[in-house]
Amino acid sequence: MRYLQKMGGHSQGPPRVGPIEVMWSGIGSLLGMAAVGLIHFKLLDSTGQIMIIGSFGASAVLIYGAIRSPLAQPRNLIGGHVLSALVGVTIFKLLGGQPWLAGSVAVSLAIVVMHLTKTLHPPGGATALIAVIGGDAVHGLGYLYVLMPVGLGAVVMLVIALVVNNIPKERRYPEFWF
């Protein structure tokens, strides 16, 4: 196949989902983000701890909006975030003096690690990047970042996904655990 021809695409997108799917995607993500948000802003604000990071917004798209996707399954959600956080913190410690390099290496290495461990979860890339560019609040956590906010936050979102995604008759989550 010719190189430029490939850029033209060759297929079409999947169909738009029905109104019920749209509604439950909205409800699930609202509740999931509310849960981590409440813990972050109401419980932890005074303690200097954090619970919410930007990449959870991306996870919400998958685990409430595309629940059949292999990328949205518990193994990927938890594994992808935790492994990417580990990679991110480690790379920041090694290359933090050069943020452009640390950021790119953290994200790319996180993708490689997620692929190898069958935990590919797109928001993991953001989790690795935030470990580098997240500022003092994140840098100060060191490897604690892996457990909290990342690990614990992902678990909270997973619990909400399990509760909400299984309410409608025609929806089920997860497809698999490990």
């Binding site: 297929s11 079409q12 999947p14 169909p15 595309a66 996707s69 292999p70 990328l71 929806r171």
Partner: protein, 204 residues
Amino acid sequence: MVDSLSEGCALPDISEQDVLEAMKTIPGYIDITPADFREVYRVALVAAQKRIMTIVKVTDIMSSPVHTIQKSMDLVRTAKLLAERRVSGAPVVDDHGKVVGMVSEKDFLVRMGAGQGGSFILIVATCLKSKGCVAAPLRKLTAGDIMNSPAITAREDISAAKAAALLMERGINRLPIIDSNGHPLGIVTRSDLVRGYGRLGTKE
């Protein structure tokens, strides 16, 4: 052998539109493009076909026990036996019960003036021209004289698909299934194969 068979069959393919229509009936966002799904489907179909080809054993579909003809049997009795049993051919066995050849309607036709690859209507034509019965010269012969030998046979562990390929490749209509001593266990005909695969289709 099996490959040559599958090349001959057109695989039931699906279009992207088919996939798209199917996706619309399934609630939830399915994270794959119709083209990618079709690619998965095509590879899976080949795997499924290979599996189906080996799932049916020849022993599942063969006719058993098989009617055999003694090699020394004269053709009058041979023809009568085939007619009584309503078969168009049968394995020929020697004194030890070993399959040594095959005899069928076609072998009679050839001897009656139809020639190799001839037809029944050619015999009718010959018969109408001549006075006596064109089959008369056959009276003195035995099954061993006109049989096709050696017989094309197969063992009992062959798959139905391989048996089908063998029938096609060798241009034969029936395949005796023999044990390690050459004794017939059964016979697979083209209609046995059709019945076997027909049943497979209705199971699922």
